[in-house]
C-alpha cells in the first residue's frame, strides 16, 4: 500500500503533468481506435465477400501480429517526417504513434469481421433472399446484425491492445501515461511506475467492460441461447 500511497501523492503534487499525460493517452487511443474501425471493419467486409485474393489479404494481416508494437514504432521513426505530412493536423511524433497503433489494431478487426460475416448461417441468408430481399437488404438487415456481436468482440480486443500499447508512445516523444512507467523503470522508482500503470489498467478495464456490455446488448436472444 505504501507504493500506491506514494503514487497518489505524486499525482496530487503534479496534477497538471498527470492530467496532460492522461489526456494524451486517451486522445491517442481513441483516435487510433476510431480510425482503425473506419478502415479495417470495411476491409473485413470486403474480405468476407471476396474470393481467394481477400483470403490472402486476411492472412497477410494476421501475419502482422508477429511484429511487436515497439518494433513498428522504431521501424517507422526515421520516416516520421513523411508520415507526419500525411496527418498535418497532428504533431509529427503523435502522428507516427497514431499510425503504429492503427496498424496494431488491424488483425483483430479484419479477422473478426471476416469470420463473423462468414459465420452467419447460410440457411438464414437463403430464407432472407426467399422473402424477396435485395442483396444489400440481406446484408444490412440480416447478415450484419447477426455478425455484429463478434465484430464488437474484435473492437474490444483492439481497444485493449491500443490502450496498452499507447504506453510505448513515451519512447518517441509523445508522452502519455507511458512516460511514468518508463521513468519509473529507469529510476527504480516503483511508485512512479504505478502512476502510469494503474490508470492504464483502469482505462483498459473500462474499455473492456463497456464494449462487453455493448456486445451483450447486441447479441440477439436466440443466438445467446444457442451460445449457452
Amino acid at each position: 500500500m505504501g507504493l500506491l500511497a506514494d503514487a497518489w501523492h505524486y499525482i496530487q503534487e503534479n496534477p497538471d503533468k498527470f492530467r496532460e499525460a492522461l489526456e494524451i493517452h486517451v486522445r491517442l487511443s481513441l483516435y487510433a481506435l476510431i480510425a482503425a474501425i473506419l478502415i479495417f471493419v470495411p476491409l473485413g467486409v470486403m474480405a468476407a465477400r471476396g474470393g481467394w485474393l481477400s483470403r490472402s489479404a486476411v492472412n497477410a494481416i494476421s501475419a502482422l501480429r508477429v511484429v511487436p508494437s515497439l518494433a513498428v514504432l522504431f521501424l517507422l521513426y526515421p520516416y516520421r517526417r513523411d508520415l507526419g505530412d500525411l496527418l498535418p493536423m497532428f504533431d509529427r511524433s503523435f502522428a507516427l504513434a497514431l499510425i503504429a497503433l492503427v496498424l496494431l489494431a488491424a488483425p483483430p478487426l479484419v479477422i473478426n469481421t471476416d469470420a463473423a460475416l462468414r459465420g452467419v448461417d447460410s440457411a438464414v441468408l437463403e430464407s432472407a433472399r426467399g422473402l424477396g430481399m435485395k442483396p444489400a437488404q440481406v446484408f444490412v438487415r440480416v447478415q450484419l446484425p447477426l455478425a455484429l456481436p463478434v465484430i464488437v468482440a474484435g473492437i474490444r480486443t483492439a481497444s485493449v491492445e491500443i490502450i496498452a500499447s499507447a504506453t510505448l508512445a513515451a519512447f518517441i516523444g509523445v508522452g502519455g501515461l507511458g512516460r511514468f512507467i518508463t521513468s519509473g523503470l529507469t529510476l527504480y522508482d516503483f511508485s512512479l511506475l504505478l502512476v502510469g500503470a494503474v490508470p492504464v489498467t483502469l482505462l483498459t478495464l473500462l474499455a473492456e467492460g463497456g464494449l462487453a456490455a455493448i456486445e451483450r446488448w447486441l447479441t440477439p436472444p436466440a443466438t445467446s441461447q444457442t451460445a449457452v
Binding site: F74, R92, S93, F171, I172, G173, S183, L187, D189, L192
Partner: protein
C-alpha cells in the same frame, strides 16, 4: 612484496610465469601478470585496452578481464583482489561508490563552487581537483585502493546543440542558452526520466533559473535523431558521445556547475602498485593524452559505421602517440 594473496596467485599462474621468465628475462616487473578490468560499454573497453597495452609496452604481462558488468561489479572485483586495476570515473567513484556529493568534496578541499572561469581549457578546475583528491583519499583510507593521474577527458551529462544554432545565436554555455530561452522556445531531447530526476530538468531550473523550456522525452537510442530532425533544439548528451562528432554538435559549458566532473583514471590496488612501481609511470604517461575530443573520435571508431574492435582502436591510438612502436 609477497603477501599470502600473491603467493596463491603466483602458484596458479606458475606455468605461464615460468615460460615468460625464460623468454623475457629482463622484464621490468615481477612475474605475476597485472590483471586489468573494465566495465561493459565501448568507452570503458577502449580505455581498458589502452591501459592494458600501455602496461604491455612497459614490459608487464597483462591479463584482461574487460567487459565486466557495472560499476559495483568492477569495484568489488578490485576490492576482493580479483583485479589489479580498472578505469573509473571520478564522479562515479564519488556518487556511486562513496555515496557523497560534490559539495562534500569541495567542502573537504575548501575549494569555491564552480565559476564560469573555473575550468581552464584542457586543465582541471578547482571542482575537478577537489573531487579527484577526495575520491583518492577516501579510496586509500577505505579500500586500500588508489587513483593514478586523472585524464582531461570528462564524460559527464551535458547539453549539446547543433553548431549552426550555436553560431547563429552566440551560445556556448548553458547560461547563454537559458537567456536565449527567455525569448524563444527550448526543447530538450532526452530520455523520459530526465523530467523526473533531481539532476535533470529540476536541477537545471534550480541552477540556472526559470526559462521557456520543455522536454521531448524519447528512448535514449533516438535522442540525437530527434535533434537532427528538429523535433528539439537541444539534446541531453554524455560529453564523450560519438554522436557529438558524427553530427558536429557543440557541447555547452555547464558554467553553473550542475553536473559533477567525470574524469577517467585508473583505480589500482595499493599492494599491486607498491610491488610494481612502473605501473604508475606507464599509466600516468597515457593519462594526459585522453582528452574529451580524442575520446569522442575513439568512441566513433567503435560505435560508428567502421565498427572497429576496441583493441585495434587502442593500438592505433597508442602507436600514433608513440607509446607503443608500430
Amino acid at each position: 612484496m609477497l603477501t599470502r594473496r600473491t603467493l596463491i596467485k603466483g602458484a596458479a599462474v606458475a606455468p605461464v610465469a615460468g615460460a615468460l621468465a625464460v623468454r623475457l628475462p629482463s622484464v621490468a616487473a615481477q612475474d605475476t601478470p597485472i590483471r586489468v578490468g573494465s566495465k561493459n560499454f565501448p568507452e570503458a573497453l577502449i580505455i581498458g585496452e589502452i591501459y592494458a597495452q600501455a602496461l604491455e609496452a612497459a614490459g608487464f604481462t597483462v591479463e584482461r578481464s574487460l567487459n565486466l558488468g557495472g560499476t559495483v561489479v568492477a569495484h568489488e572485483a578490485l576490492v576482493n583482489g580479483d583485479l589489479d586495476l580498472y578505469p573509473e570515473y571520478t564522479g562515479t567513484g564519488l556518487l556511486v561508490i562513496l555515496e557523497k556529493t560534490v559539495a562534500d568534496a569541495t567542502a573537504a578541499s575548501g575549494a569555491a563552487a564552480a565559476t564560469p572561469e573555473a575550468t581552464p581549457e584542457g586543465g582541471f578546475g578547482p571542482v575537478d581537483t577537489a573531487v579527484y583528491d577526495f575520491v583518492k583519499a577516501e579510496y586509500e583510507a577505505q579500500f586500500g585502493l588508489t587513483w593514478l593521474d586523472q585524464s582531461p577527458m570528462n564524460n559527464t551529462q551535458a547539453l549539446a546543440v547543433k553548431r549552426s544554432f550555436s553560431e547563429e545565436n552566440g551560445i556556448t554555455t548553458i547560461s547563454q542558452l537559458w537567456a536565449y530561452g527567455q525569448e524563444n522556445e527550448l526543447t530538450i531531447s532526452a530520455p523520459v526520466d530526465f523530467e523526473e530526476r533531481e539532476d535533470g530538468l529540476a536541477g537545471l531550473t534550480a541552477t540556472y533559473g526559470e526559462t521557456n523550456v520543455s522536454v521531448n522525452g524519447v528512448d535514449p537510442g533516438i535522442k540525437y535523431q530527434a535533434l537532427v530532425d528538429d523535433d528539439a533544439n537541444v539534446v541531453l548528451a554524455f560529453s564523450t558521445d560519438a554522436e557529438i562528432g558524427f553530427y558536429d554538435l557543440v557541447v555547452l559549458q555547464d558554467d553553473g556547475g550542475l553536473w559533477p566532473p567525470y574524469h577517467v583514471a585508473p583505480v589500482v590496488r595499493q599492494d599491486t602498485l607498491s610491488a610494481n612501481a612502473g605501473i604508475a609511470d606507464a599509466l600516468n604517461a597515457v593519462a594526459p593524452l585522453l582528452t574529451t575530443e580524442t575520446m569522442i573520435s575513439l568512441n566513433g571508431l567503435v560505435v560508428g559505421d567502421e565498427k572497429q574492435e576496441p583493441a585495434d582502436v587502442a593500438r592505433t591510438f597508442l602507436t600514433e602517440n608513440g607509446v607503443v612502436s608500430g
